[in-house]
């Protein structure tokens, strides 16, 4: 796709263990050869268990962590190109999980919003105008801006974080578990607001979460990660109803049911832990916990198979396995 807004290619992040300069130092392969794209105005949902590399990937895209290998291109700008660094960072915004810890507790919310504008050369009057405009967009009352973060509810704090992220009119927003700390009713409000913002301003979202119902509600496409690699990627309904990777199957069957009637559904529960990502890794990373694993899975890394309509799966037997429907 040439019209992609964000293009990530063969991205790797290896964290060295012990002394970094030692010749044969071992590495934690937190993100290992990940490629994906996000189109303008699209939401890509990124799901996976803790330790699957979701957040490391997000931090690299945000420029908070230098990648070990691979390229990140946003709107034609390379993340390594120093000449457009400011422009790159202005085009991308971030909202994190815990709104309380991403706001300075010692300054008012207004100051927290003003600071990035001052750094970008806005005059006090221009900043005031832009803050007023943005606060309106996220339904944040003007009187709330003179308060300190602890005087706001969790939902209001998260709206301040969203306001700060969209103030400089970015094209892409990285949302790292934005509603995990919120209650169901507040979560619904926040998700609806994010969808409205997307519709009005054509924002693209990288939506990271472990909540599979939230990701289904929000996303156009879903990317499932495990052990630092993409397991399956495709359109939301395709991944939900016609998934071919055993890991996606296990993940979806772990989701608690929507009705007590579904209590006795067929479950594919995972046993054991995620394998260590240290050192040379052989074969499929999911093989140790996969209920369908065969000898071949432990020998060679499965290639990414294209099942059409942009549906990709990294399983040697993708499309051949029979999943019992719950």
């Amino acid at each position: 796709m040439s019209e992609a807004l964000l293009q990530v290619e063969h991205l790797k992040k290896y964290f060295p263990l012990g002394r970094g300069l030692k010749k044969n130092a071992s590495f934690v392969r937190a993100v290992d050869d990940v490629s994906l794209t996000i189109a303008p105005g699209e939401t890509l949902g990124l799901v996976g268990e803790s330790g699957s590399g979701k957040t490391t990937l997000a931090q690299m895209i945000l420029g908070l962590l230098p990648p070990t290998e691979g390229t990140i291109t946003l709107d034609g700008m390379d993340i390594h190109d120093r000449s457009c660094r400011k422009e790159f960072h202005r085009s991308i915004g971030a909202v994190f999980q815990d709104p309380a810890s991403s706001l300075n507790p010692r300054t008012t919310v207004y100051r927290s919003l003003e600071r990035p504008l001052a750094l970008n050369g806005y005059s006090a009057a221009d900043a005031r105008e832009l803050i007023r405009e943005t606060a309106e967009k996220v339904n944040l009352g003007w009187e709330l801006l003179e308060r300190f973060p602890h005087e706001l509810s969790g939902g209001q704090q998260q709206r301040v974080s969203i306001a700060r992220a969209i103030m400089l009119k970015p094209k892409l927003l990285v949302l790292d578990e934005p509603t995990s700390a919120l209650d169901v009713s507040v979560q619904a409000q926040t998700l609806n607001e994010l969808l409205d913002l997307q519709q009005r301003f054509g924002l693209a979202y990288l939506f990271i979460t472990h909540n599979l119902s939230v990701v289904r509600y929000m996303s156009d496409r879903i990317c499932v990660m495990y052990g630092g690699r993409i397991m399956e990627l495709g359109e939301t309904e395709e991944v939900y109803h016609r998934h071919v990777h055993p890991y996606t199957l296990s993940l979806l069957s772990s989701v608690p049911p929507l009705h007590p009637r579904q209590r006795d559904r067929k479950k594919y529960l995972l046993t054991g832990d995620m394998p260590s990502l240290i050192g040379e890794l052989k074969g499929c990373r999911f093989a140790s916990r996969c209920p369908f694993a065969r000898e071949a899975c432990r020998e060679a890394e499965p290639p990414m198979r294209d099942l059409g309509k942009g549906h990709l799966a990294a399983c040697a037997f993708a499309g051949e396995l029979e999943f019992e429907k719950g």
Binding site: E49, S50, S153, D183, V184, S185, Q187, A188, Q189, L191, N192, L195, H210, N211, L212, S213, V214, R216, Y217, M218, T236, E237, S250, L251, S253, S254, V255, P256, P257, L258, H259, P260, R261, Q262, R263, K267, L269, L270, T271, G272, D273
Partner: protein, 323 residues
């Protein structure tokens, strides 16, 4: 009617300055049953759970009501007698198992400690601890009893806690958001384990959660809490199929079960009322789309709509909502 094991009647808990965290909560648990208290943060569900074990610390205080465990009034016991109820008759597990485990003792010694309190020999207690680890499906049980809490994963720690509680065969287990800190794949395993063991040992479970999915997966009966009160109580199928209280209905529609192409989620306008001030009328009235004058003046009592299905709402009578 099955035998009632726990009866909570008109329980009220307040914190200093008069914050009414729990006001007039009543429910009961039958032997071997799983009862879920569900609600959003600050609704008083955890406070209710702690009050049952009298774990409310100052400035909090139980200001009224009765807690009957096997017809014995827990609020009348001395602190020493209460200590014998905790762990032996009523076990409790919390959200973060790392806070509940002592970092400087092995998990095996912490599990066997409770057994030795029951006058069991040390060697036998250790053996039983290993058996318990197998019961909660911890691999390599003999090795793991010698592990320290930081050496095992979060899911394993919660399994240790469940094992530690169940090895003394309590009649009631209170679980306060036991899977909230865990991954969904680990959560599914813990829920299955709790369901298996509950039936194996006929233990009643009081489940505290904010997640309707866990309610659907485990509970026999449900109490929905809002602002310190139970607003609706009934069989799990009834609550899911025919919710009556406006809060329950709205909360169910706020769950993301659809895609964005199918529409938008329902939201509940406004915020939870300030519990430090006296509230006149129904506590949900300010946010309720159907509230009438009476709702703002008179607090609705829990009334039975159909057998076993109770609801505290002026607009609900005899199974149908009068709007």
């Amino acid at each position: 009617m099955e035998e009632k094991i726990l009866e909570v009647k008109d329980l009220s808990v307040s914190f200093d300055g008069g914050v009414q965290a729990v006001s007039g909560v009543s429910f009961d648990l039958r032997r071997g049953e799983c009862f879920a208290l569900v609600g959003e943060s600050g609704c008083g569900k955890s406070t209710t759970a702690r009050a049952i074990l009298r774990l409310i610390r100052a400035p909090g205080r139980i200001t009224g009501g009765r807690i009957l465990f096997e017809d014995e009034e827990l609020l009348g016991l001395s602190e020493g007698e209460m200590g014998k109820v905790r762990g032996r008759n009523i076990g409790m597990i919390f959200q973060n198992p790392l806070d509940s485990l002592n970092p400087v003792y092995t998990v095996g010694s912490q599990v066997s400690e409770g057994l030795m309190v029951d006058k069991m020999e040390k060697a036998q207690a250790w053996k039983l601890a290993a058996d318990t680890f197998r019961d909660v499906k911890i691999p390599d049980a003999e090795e793991r009893v010698r592990s320290f809490p930081h050496e095992i994963s979060g899911g394993m720690r919660q399994r240790v806690m469940i094992g530690m509680m169940l090895c003394r065969h309590p009649k009631l287990l209170i679980a306060d958001e036991p899977t909230t800190a865990l991954d969904v794949t680990i959560q599914a395993g813990i829920i299955e384990l709790m369901n298996d063991l509950r039936h194996k040992y006929d233990t009643a479970v009081l489940m505290i959660t904010h997640d309707f999915g866990i309610v659907a997966d485990m509970a026999d009966r449900v109490g929905v809490m809002y602002a310190g009160q139970i607003v609706e109580l009934g069989d799990v199928f009834t609550i899911f199929d025919h919710p009556l209280h406006p809060y329950t209905k709205l909360l169910m529609k706020a769950l993301p079960v659809i895609t964005k192409k199918e529409g938008r989620l329902e939201t509940i306008p406004g915020t939870v009322p300030d519990l430090s001030k006296p509230i006149q009328g129904c506590r949900f009235a300010d946010r309720c789309p159907d509230a009438c004058d009476r709702c703002h003046q008179v607090s609705p009592a829990m009334t039975q709509v159909t057998p076993g299905h109770l609801c505290a709402c002026h607009l609900v009578k005899g199974g149908e909502a009068h709007v």
